[in-house]
């Protein structure tokens, strides 16, 4: 009941905010359970994130997912309509490296068994700052700057009915900052996972061999039985039995170990499941710390490594690690920011990442970067690392460097500065949308506005890179999660 009233109020608010609405609200009267829930957004301009920018189109959403995008869309009957015909709609921002709502502490060593999801207890309004800045998805990363601190998780910034969690077993975060420690730990983790896999394989092979041997033995025994008529049966029940069809003729056994069976020999059904139980291979337990890495090495879908790097040299070390074991990964190198001039003269650290841009591009890396211009190491010459990387062929995801409200709020304008300084607009848009979602491991369902993907988007009064643009609305999975407060409209 309460949710219904809330929704009603939201809809009302919408109606007020949107001004003249061309289509009557029908959604108001229907309960959400009654059928599919449709929302249509008339967009003045739609940035889909796939590289297209369309004017005067309608975005139709069905049950929180994009149904279709078109210029003339026939709306289904119960359909909520949001009018953004003078505004710009783009996918909601994805923050690929956030610690919002989590306690800040350091974790040492190899702890891939620990999940961020275990410590995820968001208070009310925990993500409001992100929401108000246009972020709809956050990747909450494991803490600490050394070792392997745990698994990340992906959340939405607003609870629109399903809770916050999108993925509670996200990428494994690994640090490769202090190379002398971290590289060994990383190699050992991957190597250890390989050993675990070998162990399981070996056990499986042994099991198969045993099973075969048991089968053969059984056959022999059966033959012997046939020859002798009825003969007592040896240690067969302990060992996994052979093909189930052979089981029923096993007949009344007199041997003491098969005591329970002796009670009801004519029932083949009972014998069968028991045999099957014995048959199934029980793999030896894998160390919980290594389980995520086992998944990683086995290339299970969704498993990935989120590698925090230091400077260019650490990337070379990463290449060495990747040469030994190829795993799915996202890179998150530290980019130092070009601060203002007086500080620059007193030894602000510069970046050296652009010197490995060619290699990063050559390997088609997916790199998460802060939207910053940097000083070149040892100088006060500026360099646009994201632009260099995209130009070299890497996939760059731009993500705010911290969770402070003002940093989140400045996100689009910081990206705009990169565009001003040589990054292609299309690359920048992709870095904010498609690649950012890929970096968070949710590229298949988020990041762009395409049919089938979750309808996370923001409504802006002007182009996202325009300093005059202000955020009107944030929609999470088809539901308005944030609307600009009326007082700020003046």
């Amino acid at each position: 009941m309460r949710t219904l009233t809330r929704k009603l109020s939201v809809a009302l608010l919408l109606a007020l905010a949107a001004g003249p609405v061309p289509v009557a609200f029908a959604a108001r009267t229907t309960a959400p359970d009654a059928g599919d829930r449709y929302v249509a957004i008339r967009c003045g301009k739609l940035i889909t994130g796939t590289g297209e920018e369309k004017s005067d189109v309608t975005l139709l959403i069905k049950n929180g997912k994009v149904e279709l995008i078109g210029e003339k869309v026939e709306l289904p009957f119960p359909c909520e309509v949001i009018d953004a015909s003078k505004m710009v709609v783009m996918p909601g921002h994805v923050h690929a490296h956030s610690r919002l709502s989590l306690l800040d502490y350091q974790r040492q060593g190899m702890r891939a068994d620990v999940k961020v999801a275990d410590e995820f207890l968001p208070g009310p309004g925990a993500f409001d700052a992100a929401l108000a800045a246009g972020f709809t998805t956050l990747q909450l990363v494991a803490p600490g700057a050394s070792g392997i601190p745990g698994r990340c998780m992906v959340v939405r910034t607003a609870d629109v009915g399903d809770g916050y969690v999108i993925d509670d077993e996200g990428a494994i975060k690994a640090n490769l900052v202090n190379v002398a420690q971290d590289r060994r730990m990383l190699s050992e983790a991957i190597g250890g996972a390989k050993r675990e896999i070998e162990k399981v394989e070996k056990a499986r092979a042994e099991f198969e061999a045993k099973k075969k041997a048991a089968e053969e033995q059984k056959k022999k025994e059966e033959e012997a039985k046939k020859q002798q008529g009825q003969a007592p049966q040896g240690g067969a029940p302990g060992a996994p039995s052979g093909g189930p069809p052979n089981a029923p003729p096993n007949a009344p056994p007199n041997a003491p170990p098969s005591g329970p069976k002796a009670g009801d020999p004519p029932k083949p059904e009972e014998a069968k499941p028991e045999a099957k139980k014995e048959e199934t291979f029980q793999p030896p337990p894998i160390a919980p710390q290594l389980q995520p890495f086992v998944d990683l090495v086995q290339k299970k879908p969704g498993s990935s490594l989120f590698v925090k790097l230091g400077g260019a040299t650490t990337y070379l070390h990463w290449l060495e690690v990747a040469k030994e074991h190829e795993v799915a990964h996202v890179l998150y190198p530290e980019v130092s920011r070009a601060f203002n001039w007086p500080q620059a003269f007193s030894g602000v650290p510069g970046t050296d990442l652009h010197w490995v841009a060619d290699k990063v591009g050559e390997n088609k890396e997916l790199v998460v970067l802060a939207p910053w211009l940097s000083y070149i190491q040892g100088s006060i010459d500026l360099v646009n690392v994201p632009a260099k990387f995209t130009a070299a062929g890497a996939r760059v995801a731009l993500t705010p460097p911290s969770d402070a409200a003002d940093v989140l709020g400045a996100y689009r304008f910081q990206v705009a500065e990169l565009v001003k300084n040589g990054m292609k607009r299309a690359d920048a848009i992709a870095a904010m949308t498609k690649h950012a979602a890929e970096a968070a491991g949710v590229g298949a369902e988020l990041g762009t506005l395409e049919p089938g993907k979750r309808a996370n988007f923001i409504v802006l009064t002007a182009d996202p890179f325009d300093a005059q643009a202000s955020l009107e609305r944030v929609v999470v999975e088809g539901k308005v999660a944030w609307t600009r407060a009326p007082k700020s409209r003046s």
Binding site: A180, R183, G311, T313, L316, E320, Q377, G378, S379
Partner: protein, 497 residues
Amino acid sequence: MRSSLKMLAALVAAAALALPARAQFAVAEDAPKKPDGSAKPDEKKGEEKKDDKKKDEKKDRWLAILNGDVHTISDGVLRGATLLCKNGKIHALGYGVEVPKEAATIDATGLHLYPGLIAVNSAQVIGAEPLDLTTDVFSYNVTFGLACGWTTIVSGNSAGKLTYGTLDGLLLRSNLLMRMSYQSGDERRRVRDDFENAREFLRKRKLFEQQRAANQPAEEPKPDGVNQEYLKLLGGDAIARFDAFTAEDLRSIAKLVTEYGFKAVVFGATEGWIVAEELGRAGISCVVTPMTPRVERDPRLNRPNGATIENAALLWKGGVKVAVIPATARLGTDGLVERDLRTPTLEAAFAVRGGLPREAAEAALTLNAARVLGIDDRVGSLEVGKDADVILLDGELLDYESFVYYAVVNGRLAYDKAKESLFRDLRPRPSTYQEPKPPEPPKEEAKTEEKKDEGKKEEKKEEGKKEGEGEAKKDGGEKKPDETPKPEEKSALELTS
């Protein structure tokens, strides 16, 4: 129908196999032979089609330094010679060296080539142990070190190369020297005991081996209580490092070394000049700082004492291998004032002022430093087979005016003065480095030609000389006649074709 499909597949497979095989052949043939300018279009295409990474792995890395005065340190000076590096090693050195056309080149006309300098000690220049995991190969120190002439630097007990931008070949060798203290009575007794034990064990083992060879019954000696390090020393597999300054200490070390016959190096050796001949006879090497603060003779001591600038020279005369290290092991920016790793040649020049011959002073920074560390099989001189660590200066090594213009480490150009902001604007000289020529693109050639046109007349002259030698430019030269010589038109043509 199905059989025909199979046949088609077989054909395709055969073609696919044939292509790389052919390409391999082309590479193998090109590399050692003198490249004949006539381009083989088919093979080139084949090479293009190959996987890029594979190609990189298979391709030899060539770098030719042309027309420089090569100071080999080990074997005199070759004026206007060519030094050819292959895969990080010196492949050929001398006159009339055939340079493969895919080689990167540096025209060193007017420049002097020396082996990269070796710092036997350093602090906070590259990483600490483990060197290969803690060194930032993009750090400013690496560039700066190269600009000062160093290519090999000892940190902790490992020697590392200043491989700018790559981790390949960063660590040269670890566990270089075995530090020993031989000063107090206690230390001396312990060291001698350990040596005695080790020698005794070796004697017993030798006896055992002889007995076994003679089929006599024998018990194998057990190395219980024997210091393994000392066994290594006696076996000649390790080098001992002493830090000693007074004549007294040096003399006793010389006695010890003579008695047990192991390899030793003394760091410091301020009063080495007094016992130079004893040190020389014992085969001890010394690492000295030629200009130490002057210590006047103490008249209370009834023997020669004190520090002198002639130390290095007198040690050398006594037959000691002398290596030189500046007073401080850091890398500062204070130039001539602060005598640290910034000014290696200054330190060696001081030794010359004290009477050391110039050649010996040059060796003190290169070959002898390598010998001291036991890495002279890899670095220290310009010889075929050694690592291609070369510095190119515009003057003699010990001339205070000389600048390092290029530093080559492991056959890679690691420092190019014209391209680094560090000293770029001081006594500038246009870079003559030319990237290795990929076999395929004629487009690139057009580009380089354009660059050359932009370049100064000097450069053009040098280019001409190079063409005279015939290797580097042949490819472009051969192709020119059938096209118009203008690069713009050529590139346009290439684009359309």
